[in-house]
Structure formats: structure tokens, C-alpha cells
Amino acid sequence: MSYPSEGTLQRAIAFLAALGVGVAAYIAISESGGGSPVCLAGGHGCATVAKSSYSHVAGVNIAIFGIFGYLVLLGSAFFANDVARFGGFVVALGGFGYSVFLTYIELFKIEAVCQWCVASAVLMTILFLLNATRLIGYAGTAEALPGRA
């Protein structure tokens, strides 16, 4: 099985993680004053989700955890070693798993969907797939081997 070159994966991870930082930062900033993100397609899903008790863990807005996670993923994209590959995979796995949980909560508990949360969940899903591909394709290699088959 052939994989994209590790450099390509790193660039894609860096790009999507940077987007993720932006999305999570927007959610965190818009909720910081007691407000909520603006749903671009209209509706009140973002306000409903933002005001629900699930938007905070131990008093901290979950978007703050999101920013931190995306920053770690961004950092991992700049190194081609096993620590970065495995660390990126574990963080993306955690982010993906929590996104699955939050999407379930939105659909079946809060019964409202926030586009910004969906955007973050999609980004985290793609980042998980990219990091998994990177780990499976390049774990154990001393450095990036572009186009390794």
C-alpha cells in the first residue's frame, strides 16, 4: 500500500490544524463575554449549544481545550520523528473521540446543532485520519521518506 509522502501529510496537518485554531479561537472569544458564536446559516443552534452545560468542563470552555489540541497538532506537523507522529496521533484521536461525543450530545441531548462545532468536528476527523495515515505509514522511520511504499 502506498501512502502520501510524509511531507505532504505534514503540510495538510499544519494547514487544517491552523484552521482548527481559528475555529476554536472564534468559539472561545465569542463565548467569553457570555455571548455565543453567530450561526452563519441562521438559526439559534450556536446560542443553544453555547449556553448548555456541556460547553464547559470544570468551568473551562471546551473551545480552550480545542485551541490547545489544535496547537499541539500544528506543532507536531513541524517534526518528522516518532514522538511527533505518535503524539499527533494520540491528540487527534482524543480530539476525534471527544468530537464524536459532543456531536452525540448536540443531536440527542441539547437537540441543537452549532455549525462551528460541526466545522471543528470535521477538521478533527480529517486530522485524525491524516495522523493515523502518518503513523501507520512512517512509524519507525528515522526521518521522512517521501513516497514510501
Binding site: 438559526g43 439559534h44 443552534g45 446560542a47 443553544t48 449556553k51 448548555s52 452545560s53 456541556y54 516518532d82 507522529r85 505518535f86 496521533f89 494520540v90 484521536l93 482524543g94 476525534f96 473521540g97 471527544y98 464524536v100 461525543f101 452525540y104 450530545i105 440527542f108 441531548k109 441539547i110 437537540e111 441543537a112 493515523a132 503513523l135 501507520i136 512509524a139 519507525g140 522511520t141 528515522a142
Partner: protein, 233 residues
Amino acid sequence: MTDGERRSQLLKLAAGAVFLAVAVVLVLIVVATSSSGDGGDTKLEGTAAVNKRLAGIPQHGMVLGDPKAPVEVAEFADLQCPFCKAFTEEVLPPIIENQVKNGQVKISFRNFTIIGEQSLPAGAAALAAGAQGRGWNFVELFYENQGTEDSGYADEEFLEAIAKGAGVSDLARWHKERSEFTAEVEETTAEAQQLGFSGTPSLAIKGPATDGLEPIDTPSSAGDLEAAIEKAE
């Protein structure tokens, strides 16, 4: 350790992490599903009792009972008012059980917001619930969980919990329409003032024997209200 051994070890660790993540997500979902969850942290009382009490009684907007009922009792109330709560819980039940259920009387809830700034959004929230046929469930459940007068308890989370508990099925629509009902709350408040009311709850009655909607003294018992209904018939 060779590259191959390191690779094998990392992939085993990754597989373990995936297994752990799946288990954690499943546990989180099970815990979240088993918690009460009505509006997040807000725990409601009386949800089942209210919904059972009102089951089977027609509701159109904020009117409880058959819309063709010959007598209408209009209750002008503020959801934050403890006297309105007492009136609804002590005076109205026999009337609802008898005259409303048999189609003789209908009761309309009209907002008369005099307590505080949360009364207006609370009233609008009740009307938005009414648009989905759950207005009286909202009002009665609000009263069941009423807090200290104008203490700030009737916030967004509380209103959403009441709406969910009251059985409002389309919460997105309820959220959207709440602000649109603000004008109606202000209209019924102005109507109450035009009728000469200054406190809550205030009542007016309309029937074949009245000249439109006529104010009556607030009944202190179901018997007093029955007497007023008889006069209006």
C-alpha cells in the same frame, strides 16, 4: 531496538489508544444519556405531574380548553409572581377538571409583566411554547419550579429546561420564535392596564351574559370562580 521493532511497538500502542478512546467515548455517552439532562444542569420538579394533568385537554396558543367554550376566563399573570403560582395551583385545578374538560369554559393565560426584567422573556418563551401546543404545560411547569421573586433564576438555561420539560418538540423553532412573541407580551400587559389592573393575578371573564371581557375580583377559591363563571353564562 531496530526500526522495525520500534514501529511494531508504536503501532501496538496506537491500537491500545484507539481501544481506550472508544471505551471512554462509550462511557461518556452512557453517563450523559443516563443523567436527567433536562436543560443541562437545571433539575425540574413536577414535569410528569404537569404533563399528566394537562394531557388530553385542547390547547390553542395560550388558551386551555375547547375554543368554542361559551365562557372564557382570562388570567393576567406574571410567571415570576408567587400569587399567580398559588392561584394556578389552588384555584384553577377544580375548574380545569370540571368546566374546562367538559367544554363549558376555556382559560386564557395572558402575560401581565410587572415583576422584573426576566418576566418579559419568560412570557415570550411561554407564548412560543404555546405556538407548539405546550403553552399551559410551560406555565404550570414554570410555576412548579418558580424561584424567589425576581432573583434572576429565570435565565436562558431555566427557560430552556422548562420548554424541554413541558414537551416543546421543536426547540430550534421555539428559540427562533421567542423574540417574535415579545410584542404580544407587551400587548397583553397594555390590555391589563387598560382593564384597570395593577397587580397579578388579575382576572376577567367573557360569556353570553357579559359585555365583552369584564374584570372580576380575583377569586380566592375555586368556589368564587365558579360563581363568577355562572354569572357570565
